[in-house]
């Protein structure tokens, strides 16, 4: 990749991270419980968009920038695992297990839906 592409990766990584923070914050402020709905919404919507890009046959540098750099930074694995661990630690084992299962099912479903839509466009 060119130097410009690496600069773009850094900028798009910032954009994705800020978008994740803002959506998570907006949802967390509106949800009453402590179930991590914000991260779930971020990860599900990111999986949908990355599925869409894949369905639209993005490849090479375009996929690296729009997919890996932007959507890859937007979605997060570490926060998902961290929140699951803290739910378990606070004795909310069922909520923790649910957070894992729902994220996986919704995530794969969203990616598949996005890819199907992208391929049909």
């Amino acid at each position: 990749m060119s130097a410009y592409a690496w600069i773009a990766v850094a900028v798009l990584g910032s954009v994705g991270s800020i978008a994740r923070f803002l959506l998570d914050r907006a949802i967390s402020l509106r949800s009453a419980g402590s179930f991590p709905l914000g991260t779930l919404a971020v990860n599900a919507s990111g999986a949908l968009v990355l599925g869409l890009l894949t369905g639209l046959a993005f490849s090479g540098e375009a996929l690296t920038l729009a997919g890996s750099a932007t959507i890859g930074s937007y979605t997060t694995f570490s926060t998902w695992m961290f929140e699951t661990h803290r739910l378990g630690e606070d004795g909310r084992v069922q909520a923790g297990a649910l957070n894992v299962l729902v994220s996986i099912v919704v995530g794969i479903g969203a990616a598949l839906l996005g890819r199907t839509i992208g391929a049909a466009l």
Partner: protein
Amino acid sequence: MTPTAGLGHIVRSQHHQGSPGDAAITTATQTEHDSRSRRIDPSELLAIALGGAIGALARVGLAQAAPVSTGSWPWATFAANIVGALLIGYFVTRLQERLPVSTLRRPLLATGFCGALTTFSTVQIELLKMADRHDWALAASYLSASVIGGYLAVFASSAMVRRVRALA
């Protein structure tokens, strides 16, 4: 995740010296609520942007350096995710329970860097590709190793920080 930087660390440190108590959980939740009702601090966004840029560069760099061939284990994504889970457990436990309150370290290191270093969406696409090839064994092992490994990584790094504190 909302970057909590209130007084939660004081309560949490008491919480982990004894058995998990409801009072500690309640107070931690209240602290989180207080920090959520704050207005967005521009320097907080800047910290997230900086951490996110470095995290994205590291993950994309790793993916470029170790490209994954069809039908094989996605090592680059896997490594980034497990390392990111280790680091977020370390950073957040340390910031909440050990170090004095800092408003910018958590957005920089946890929300920005660890958040962008790790990825959820790429894992889903990798799983779809494995499913396309009916490689169910690879998909099942990759998914379970990621989730179990990620959870254990947070557990181990959090425990390590608390152990160091208990000895100090």
